[in-house]
């Protein structure tokens, strides 16, 4: 399997050959930043296209099919449109917080990209507390959402932001606890270590029933954290016009939109890394020929394939179920998901012992 560390270390040596150590680091930081931003934008466009197509298929429609073959350029056209739109200045908003909120939301979701292992050797920074970092950073976005709701000086945004805060704080618990089950199983919080341990068998198979329960709970909780699907109370358009981003226009709204889609991908990517083996190919112990064939598929394809499978699950849920009421939402978390995930950790601990 191709190791991307060869490419990255070659670039590192190439830069070191004519730059000092400090400048090399600086150039590498800039390069990585550019690559992550480009990946972010491309993934967002791809996800918006996938979302619209899958949504259309669930409703027996065809979806975007006019711009480019099968409408693949539709989201690019939409991006150009949203970039050209006017930014409306709203009176009596808190100008600094109003402008800062969207950047907080988008920075929070870009930061997670730094720690995700996309392929063999393709990980920007390998923290020894990677899981902790992912959880911390991915839930930072709620600060931006709360600021957006508060600074817009509008009752709808305020209610939307409050709902979003309540939702994210409660669902963060069971998301964290279900990831903790995997940390118990692997005995490490380092993402590269977790992925390497899944070389023979993915954790969802290795961990038997507790891992599967943790996987399902993580998908539900993560889905709720992204404010989508049946948990889209913060932006329930029938009740709150557009929730916390009611007052935003043009690319300011676009940032929120982008962050929402990327959060969906990030949840899928974390679920892939923790439960479905990250970039590791599907290996079944004892089937040597099968394992060899699977090794030929590049690790990038494995990672993105599994992540998009999780994204499809999220879309499937989103277009199947009606929106929950706020008390149902909190009941589901505090009375069902959290007790189950606590018991699940106990089960996992017994299994590891």
């Amino acid at each position: 399997m191709f190791d991307f560390a060869i490419v990255t270390s070659w670039i590192d040596q190439f830069l070191r050959s004519f730059l000092s150590a400090g400048w090399t680091l600086f150039v590498e930081f800039v390069l990585i930043g550019l690559v992550i931003l480009a990946l972010y934008a491309v993934l967002a466009l791809l996800l918006i296209y996938v979302e619209r197509k899958v949504c259309a298929f669930f409703q027996c429609r065809i979806g975007p099919n006019r711009v480019g073959p099968w409408g693949v350029l539709q989201s690019v056209a939409d991006m150009v449109k949203i970039l050209l739109k006017e930014l409306i200045n709203i009176k009596r908003v808190d100008p600094f917080l109003f402008k800062a909120a969207m950047f907080l939301v988008i920075i929070a979701s870009i930061c997670t990209f730094g720690a995700l292992p996309f392929a063999r050797g393709l990980q920007t920074i390998d923290f020894n507390i990677g899981v902790f970092y992912l959880l911390a950073v991915s839930s930072l976005g709620v600060v931006g959402i709360l600021l957006a709701g508060w600074s817009s000086n509008n009752k709808y945004t305020m209610i939307g932001a409050m709902r979003s805060g309540a939702q994210l704080i409660s669902y963060e618990l069971s998301a964290g606890l279900s990831l903790m089950a995997i940390v118990v199983l692997s005995g490490s919080m380092q993402l590269s270590e977790i992925v390497n341990q899944q070389a023979e068998m993915w954790f969802i198979f290795k961990g038997h029933i507790p891992a599967f329960i943790a996987f399902v709970i993580y998908l539900i909780a993560g889905h709720a954290e992204t404010n989508r699907g049946p948990f889209d109370l913060p932006e329930a358009e029938s009740e709150l016009t557009a929730g916390y981003h009611t007052e935003y226009s043009g690319i300011q709204f676009g940032f929120f939109y982008l962050a929402e889609y990327l959060n969906m991908f990030i949840v899928a990517a974390i679920a892939t890394t923790m439960f479905l083996g990250g970039w590791m190919p599907l290996h079944i112990p004892g089937w040597e020929g099968f394992n060899q064939v699977m090794d030929f598929i590049p690790s990038v394809i494995w990672f993105f394939g599994k992540a998009f499978l999780c994204v499809f699950l999220a879309l499937w849920v989103r277009w199947s179920f009606p929106r929950l009421r706020i008390d149902q939402l909190l009941n589901l978390e505090w009375k069902v998901l959290m007790p189950i995930s606590l018991i699940n950790i106990l089960l996992m601990a017994l299994l590891v012992l």
Partner: protein, 157 residues
């Protein structure tokens, strides 16, 4: 007992949710219903009862069935149909008879209520399935239904 109910409820909920997801999955793989209009132009069969545009069918000898009884014109709620008649000498009997001169149909006024076709005693007018009515000028919507030089078809005996 409460605990058993709690656990049973969770399993029932999971089952119900899976049922819902199964139904949406059936929708996903079902045939799509969207019509891609300009591409499938002329390929798509319209419904038989569709009221597209009023037409007067003519046979191969350029003969129609309208006897100019004016029932359709009187029945039309908003004056869509304007019929002018003329007197024509019948060679066989030597008597003058009222025949249809022009049958003007204003598509822009028509509400497609179908009172004209229901009340026509001769079944001389009917609906076609043409629905592409857009024109650049209003006058083009004023259509003459009987063709130039057409005459009344002889009755089948």
């Amino acid at each position: 007992m409460k605990l058993i109910n709690y656990i049973a409820n969770i399993f029932i909920a999971i089952f119900r949710l899976l049922q819902g997801m199964y139904i949406t999955m059936l929708n996903l793989i079902r045939k799509k219903v969207t019509e891609q209009y300009p591409e499938n132009r002329g390929k798509k069969e319209q419904f038989e009862q569709m009221r597209g545009q009023l037409v007067m069918p003519h046979n191969e000898n350029n003969q129609h069935k309208c006897t100019a009884c004016l029932i359709c014109m009187t029945n039309c709620p908003n004056g869509t149909i304007q019929i002018t008649t003329k007197m024509e000498m019948n060679e066989e009997t030597g008597k003058e008879k009222k025949v249809l001169d022009t049958y003007m149909y204003d598509l822009g006024c028509c509400t497609y209520c179908s009172l004209c076709t229901w009340t026509c005693p001769q079944d001389a007018i009917e609906w076609s399935q043409n629905f592409e009515h857009a024109m650049f000028t209003r006058s083009k919507l004023n259509i003459r239904l009987n063709k130039e030089g057409s005459s009344l078809a002889p009755k089948n005996k």
